[in-house]
Amino acid sequence: MTQEIIIQAIISGLLMGFVYALIAVGLSLIFGLMEIVNFAHGEFLMLSMYTAFWLWSLFGLDPLFALPLTAVMMFVLGIATHYGLIRHILHASMLVQICATFGLAIFLRASAQFLWTPDPRTILDPLVEGRLDIMGIFLGLPQIVASLGCLAAFALLYLFIARSDTGLALQATAQDRQAASLMGIPTDRMYALGWGIGSACVGIAGVLLATFRPTDPEVGALYALLAYVAVALGGFGSILGSLFAGLLIGQMEALGGWLIDPSYKYVVIFSLYLAVVSLRPQGLFGRF
């Protein structure tokens, strides 16, 4: 019996871990490029969840079919954020950068509350629902689909960054903007692309989350908080670091909730973060 609970916890943690990893990698990519933490990342997640909800509610479009559309919309939103806001504060102090993205977060969250009220919204008849029962271990089907979707998106992102010419240009920009610029890489466009991809990642994760989690204006806060921890834990800017940290957080959440007390699971995750950064201030995989 206990054994089944442990396996159940580990697998559920694994499933959520991939979702956390995809949210975190969007943040990490942007940070790696230009050393800016997007404190509106959770609000981007919230917006994509609302997009999924409204496409379902108004047009009867299932989130799984709305996924490409939402990803494109979030990509455009990311690019718009870069050109409208980030580009102008690239050389400002860290405090101004933090305030700019926090200001955007507050604006988006309040707008969502104003437009759509604070009531939670649930997609009532998703295409995929129900659960699997494998030898006494219950797994929600939407969670499995979300997890696989996030894993696939993560793999595509990794291949894109590691293999494609544009991906290499992104890496070069992250390493040394001036040198990249001298090699003919349009670094400003690379930054915009980074914002586009980063928001598309969180957009995909958001749509998949919306298949099993109610949406409200505050929904992004917790996921963003876990993403900050994951990114700092994995090392700002490290892609594989955020995968590892996302999975680790998924496990800590599931096992910590079971071993200690569900209400303290986030304290456990935060303590792990503090322990890791006090020993390794650059995170697990970070280059300083």
């Binding site: 860290m94 950068q97 933090i98 200001g103 507050i106 908080l225 304290v267 935060f270 006090s278 201030p281």
Partner: protein
């Protein structure tokens, strides 16, 4: 004087500039008059506007001004961006509320206990985090703040999620820090607390401590190589900041007479205080007050006009305003004020010369 030992060949214009712009210019006659007028206006205000609402708005400005000033010490002067300052506010609010509700200890004593506890908490939080740089420190303070809130929400001894209701006492109002007939005593206490915070910052700004803080903010490596004990001075900044935050926390608890973890420990409070300081201008004495004086009336009036929580319109305006400030006036609103109010005679003359 050091000035008399002019190194040969130093450009005269640079020296002129250095003399013309002393670090802390003496107040001009105009500034003194302005100061007296402001002081008289602040004292007269609650008697002229004796309705509860205008008094409440000013009390909130003083309270948030105190908090923004406290955050300013840590971030504006010492350069360490804390995203968890609400924890010190909560410690202050809970310490005095708990001691008063359980042991009938005067909130004034409770406030001192809260300030000491907040300083201790700051020292403990600093231990693992002061080594961290930039975003790592900011996110560490953020998760510590969130963890403290989670723990308080579950801690039955201090009321868990329902918090503490302070018993209503109608006698010995000053000793019990409760006023039920008028808001005027709250007004003057809040004004006094704000004055304490501002005087502390003004004194710090001009002392050796202030120079050390700014050295740590600008060039931590250089400061260390000059023999400044960085960890010690960061701790001092954090502790001073935490104590002022706890003082504001006790005031808040006595003003609303109930504390609970959702209201005194939230991340949104830490962020609000940060936004006020940045909006006004960090690292300056008047900036945080200016930020509070702009943002508080905005949220209080939208709440009155639109009812309830204002349908979040106040926060939409906040968010948009702070983005605008970051884009167009990153040094804060204080930059605009300085433009209109030349700070001393030399600048004024230069201004006339240009015009």
């Amino acid at each position: 004087m050091a000035m008399s030992q002019t190194p040969a060949g130093a450009p005269d214009s640079a020296l002129e500039a250095a003399r013309a712009e002393p670090l802390h210019p003496p107040m001009t006659g105009r500034q003194k008059i302005l100061g007296v007028v402001a002081a008289v206006a602040l004292v007269a205000y609650p008697f002229v506007f004796n309705a509860p609402f205008p008094q409440h708005v000013m009390i909130m400005i003083f309270l948030y001004g105190t908090m923004a000033q406290s955050w300013n010490i840590m971030a504006g002067y010492c350069g360490q961006i804390s995203l968890g300052h609400a924890m010190f506010f909560g410690i202050g609010a809970y310490s005095s509320a708990f001691l008063f509700a359980t042991y009938q200890i005067s909130p004034w004593l409770g406030m001192l206990v809260g300030m000491i506890l907040a300083m201790a908490a700051a020292a403990v939080v600093g231990l693992p985090t002061f080594r961290l740089r930039g975003h790592y420190f900011a996110i560490a303070t953020l998760v510590i703040g969130e963890s403290v809130q989670i723990v308080v929400q579950r801690w039955d001894f201090i009321g868990a999620a329902s918090g503490i209701w302070l018993p209503i006492v109608r006698e010995n109002q000053w000793a019990n820090f409760q006023f039920h007939d008028s808001k005027i005593p709250y007004y003057f206490i809040a004004l006094g607390f704000l004055a304490v915070a501002c005087l502390a910052v003004r004194h710090m700004e001009r002392s050796r401590l202030g120079f050390y803080f700014r050295a740590i903010r600008e060039e931590p490596e250089a400061a260390r190589s000059l023999g400044i004990n960085i960890t010690l001075y960061k701790s001092l900044a954090f502790m001073l900041s935490a104590a002022l935050m706890a003082m504001a926390g006790t005031f808040y608890a006595q003003y609303v007479l109930v504390v609970d973890p959702e209201v005194v420990f939230p991340l949104t409070l830490s962020i609000l205080v940060l936004l006020m300081a940045v909006m006004g201008g960090v690292g300056t004495l008047w900036g945080p007050l200016l930020g509070a004086a702009v943002l508080i009336p905005l949220s209080e009036t939208t709440r009155i006009l639109l009812g309830g929580t204002g349908g979040a319109v106040d926060l939409m305006i906040y968010g948009a305003l702070i983005v605008m400030i970051c884009l167009f006036k990153p040094e804060g609103l204080i930059g605009l004020v300085r433009h209109w109010l030349p700070s001393h005679a030399v600048k004024k003359e230069a201004g006339h010369g240009d015009a």
